[in-house]
Symmetry: D2
Subunit: 378 residues, 4 copies
């Protein structure tokens, strides 16, 4: 047993099997992928990585398995899935994954990196099936719920970790209690009796972290800029599959060096970010703008405003899914969906819809032109 010191969970104990997985280049790469992408441009301390998050998820999964009394090969499979669940991530986490996946036609949890190569070899040496582990990562099967589901250990780690590293206090949910209270009822992962509040607190933490951190407009702008630049990089010269395997260092340097993206690369390096020309709730946005293909809309606005095409960025986010609202809790001895027993939970879903914003961003010096032109389309 080796002990790894973690800023959130203190000491995390890992056995030789977990160590072998950690020692693969695929996992080590996660040391160089920031957990929150460009959020460090708003929260200077938010430099934590997918690597430490993966360790944290592993740690919570082991606690849940201990508590649920899961042993043998199933335990090893879940441990592996917890540790590996982010191994297929693109650089800058969720910031560029859409664009990369669109180009290569695969999601980050369709995890080649688990099915073949160094990771697969370590799994097979332990007598595990890489396919089984990959299916757990996709949330399939009874134990897949622990790794990716409404009550998975992934979100239990990231909320607390993001709070610790940003300094925002909202994410300090009662992790230990959540893990201790997980139970299976009819093969469904639920929270045991007396935990409606525990579940509500988890949801509230997410609901508060969203506008403050994940959806902060500066994080949204820098993410949209990064995304568009990565798209240009792919169209210009670098294969999407190559981008997918990069770490943050490599993508940053590629953006700075490539002619088509150097301007955005420098803007991100020096934090000279675009500003909001448009920032509207859904019911104020025209149907045309909602239905338009964002890049086509950008070209139209740019032409109208007489600016360079890359100087207009249209940002249509998907509202957070609030998966936890679908979780079940035991109330008076019976398994019930959280949204039926908690008045708060339904409100939180609506709150998250309220937060939705349609954004158009442009360089400060072009802001007025883009704003005027946008008015015709948005």
């Amino acid at each position: 047993m080796k002990t790894i010191k973690d800023a959130v969970h203190d000491h995390i104990r890992v056995d030789d099997f977990a160590l072998s997985l950690l020692d693969t280049p695929e996992m080590q790469r996660l040391r160089h992928i920031r957990q929150l992408g460009t959020a460090y441009l708003v929260y200077p301390s938010a430099n934590h990585t997918r690597f430490e998050h993966s360790l944290g998820v592993y740690h919570l999964a082991v606690q849940a398995l201990d508590n649920l009394g899961v042993a043998g090969i199933e335990r090893d499979e879940v441990r592996a899935a917890a540790l590996l669940h982010d191994v297929g991530h693109t650089p800058f986490s969720h910031n560029v994954e859409d664009i990369v996946e669109e180009h290569i036609g695969k999601r980050h949890d369709e995890v080649d990196d688990v099915l073949e190569g160094n990771v697969a070899r370590v799994l097979e040496d332990r007598g595990l099936s890489p396919e089984r582990v990959a299916s757990l990562i996709r949330g399939e099967g009874k134990y897949g719920q622990l790794v990716s589901g409404e009550l998975d250990v992934d979100r239990m780690d990231y909320l607390v970790r993001d709070a610790h590293h940003t300094g925002v206090p909202y994410g300090t949910i009662d992790n230990r209690r959540l893990v201790l209270e997980l139970d299976f009822v009819d093969e469904e992962l639920v929270l045991g009796e007396g935990n409606v509040q525990t579940a509500e607190a988890l949801l509230l933490a997410r609901a508060l972290m969203h506008p403050t951190v994940y959806n902060h407009h500066v994080a949204r702008i820098s993410k949209a800029m990064l995304k568009r630049a990565t798209e240009r990089l792919i169209e210009d010269s670098v294969r999407a599959e190559r981008v997918r395997r990069m770490d943050d260092h490599e993508l940053v340097v590629a953006l700075r060096k490539n002619e088509a993206t150097a301007e955005t690369g420098a803007r991100l390096a020096e934090r000279r970010l675009y500003k909001r020309a448009v920032w509207k709730p859904r019911d104020e946005v025209s149907d045309g703008a909602l239905d338009a293909e964002p890049r086509a809309l950008e070209r139209e606005i740019a032409a109208d405003a007489d600016v360079e095409p890359h100087e207009v960025v249209v940002d249509v986010s998907t509202p957070p899914r609030m998966a936890e609202t679908e979780a079940s809790v035991v109330v008076d001895g019976e398994k019930k969906p959280l949204e039926r027993v908690s008045r708060l939970v339904n409100t939180l879903r609506k709150v998250s819809e309220d937060e939705w914003r349609f954004g158009v961003y442009a360089p400060e010096e072009k802001l007025e032109d883009v704003r005027k032109s946008s008015e015709r389309y948005v």
Copy 2:
């Protein structure tokens, strides 16, 4: 007044002047330089940067200035110096600065970045002399002691910040008290009456962080590997002055791409680090080895062991200086050097000497050969 959220000091308030300094590309670059270099290979959460540390030092400096009642231009100079004190840093902080400075013949606090360019312009717009600010960064003059001295706010920030991000509890000194108790006696910055223990605690925090974090053998090995590779990079193709202006992203990618350093670049990426062939306290090391030029010694051992020259790394660290032992404290109304009133402090100096180690590192598969050859020389 803008407020920036920090994981250590919570809310840090910055005025327009401080914001203008923060907005220079020179300061923004520090967002991409890890505070502890390669220590994240031991402590996965240790990904914090020189940027957040600079903000923290600024915050503590403002508190000290408020408390000391320093106003006007001197206050602005000290604020600027606190914020800018690390602007000249090489990538990976202290890890490669020696090698770069050796090649360009300047120390990182001989701060061109303050004397000219964007930073100098912001200072001059405020009516400040860049030369004055640079001299404060070097610790000169009465107020220079606040920025770089035995009781400077630099160490007050980094000990607590490093503790927060590594998860090691030793660095949790009583910062607020230290800042409140600073005073000037005969132009010397001292701690007021009743603070011998406060000062001892600061020193102890450093004494405990050293072996556990800063001097951890894995941090030492990865740092030595990085240093040698950077040296080869400079000798091979990249100008030292260019390396100095890089951020971590650029140095990492340069090491991976350059033929002379690609092997070390990959090793650092995948954490396939060298191991210790030799690890000895000073009194067990031969005089010849102590006096030798490390790179010459490497070549001799490599030839003897019949391995590639870059497969032997000799690491002779300088013991930590323990500057705080020279600080003064007011005791019974009189200013006295801390080492005269504290039994602990003298011991800590010796403890830090005890920790000194002479290291020779090599790839795992060559370890025995290098060990045997080293015995002849070390």
Copy 3:
């Protein structure tokens, strides 16, 4: 300036005037009154006192005053009111205050202890009017809002302090931000632009602390037992005015020693608490029970169940008022009531109504008898 070390706010600085107030026997008495009454029977670490809370409220008030730029006599008045706001508290905080106040016909913020005696003398020595300070404690006037209003510093301290000492993470609101963002618009204390979430977080913290800590059924039971016993004590032998001046030590010992209350005194000492015979939401309680005078109802049920009168305790709590929902926030440059701009806030009010419970408690060995009899009445 003296510095007092606090577990929540770290260093609290107090000047001679604040120290003189703290040094009065009236304020020192608060060192012996637990902030959360009997909640320590659920949360063993919840032993914090009204004294440390008063210091914390003082500390936050000073920060708010600094930020709002309030100086001179008004500043002194608010500081005094913040420090003194709980000086009239009965032992065990809110647990017995109703019963005492009912007997003496005064509320705890009708603060004799401020208007006369040692405290009044210190105030007058400073040139302050005890009447003015007392009116601020009652929340009157512009600055009274800071001490007792929808956004007062009282609740900012207690939520965080209760979280720290119980170990429940829900109360960790962003205090520093709240204090920095307070502003006056048309003489009303509001939160400035961009703080809807900050206000929501404050309300959520309260909404989550309520069921978990303040309204935990064991806290409710022990509080109801204490209240009834104190009532018997007053009716039996000890004047209500005397009880009001006691601290926890004196009330505990009085309950243990007095024949009429010794049984409850011993039960509280040994944590042999009554259990719930009835625990119902409002819509399941008969109108008769809701309208009945609780002690009359107790006698009826006790007679019916053939148990001692003091072995039935009827507990009808008032739902938490959620005063913060009435606070105002600046949105798009305009002052607006929080409940109009936040969907969450309306829900939270309903959530707090949902939590309301009607309880009947009895000794474990009589539980079935009392339960059966209760059914006829409740």
Copy 4:
């Protein structure tokens, strides 16, 4: 399994056996005994109790037992001993135990409360021998070292708990690591390889907490006043055996009500403490004073100064024992005494001797008279 929320260790899980022990009146009494006696007069938040400390020690003991693989009856015995180790404590913890024990001729770990009564019954129901458990509490036998020895879990809990509740940062030792690294070598409890620093940090935490908290002069004065008053109480009217069974509430009220102690009782309630007439290191105290019986010396000084006998308090503390210096650590595969492998440890012992002070205290208004008279004797 029931879960108890603790401010330090978060969730503490207790089984039915531990719950039965907790439910005895003997253990419940510890809810009303402050862990640090009168230290709350210096640190207002230091109101934590022996009860929560006992739970914390139990929690750490279980972790150590898990890690050491101790099962069966030995495990139960150690668990019981950890939970019960303070059950025999007098009110106000160490403040009055000397005086009580002197009068009844027994130490607080000669634990009648374990050998008979409710606790003994619970132990016997579980098939355990009260005598065995009592011997573990006294630190006897292999497993007694875990409960009371150089590396016991008692000190691991109290240092961190005292830090949490006072707000003093020095006690934040790496508890989890200490517990994980405990091992038995030749029946001796030691810290495993690589833990010299871990042990040093534990000692340093104690060394820093001593002058700042435990030995703070205001804590010393109030403790000495409490001790003398308790002595008068015993001599006047209340049997020592009765005092021993009191909790803080009862002793406080007894002191306030009893004529011989009412003055001190009121002084402690209102924090009108004596001041230091004499405060000298050992080498400045005359042999006569060191050898004198403190109460005889008090009478002499009082007569000389012409003040009431109880207005002079002589306080001769015993220096902290620094038991941890005798602990062993594995170094290079061999068990070695910590003091042989750590330069720091020897210094710390001397530091703790340096801190020793001889005190004479008196009411502020008599201070000068007592000071002058003391000079003749001390």
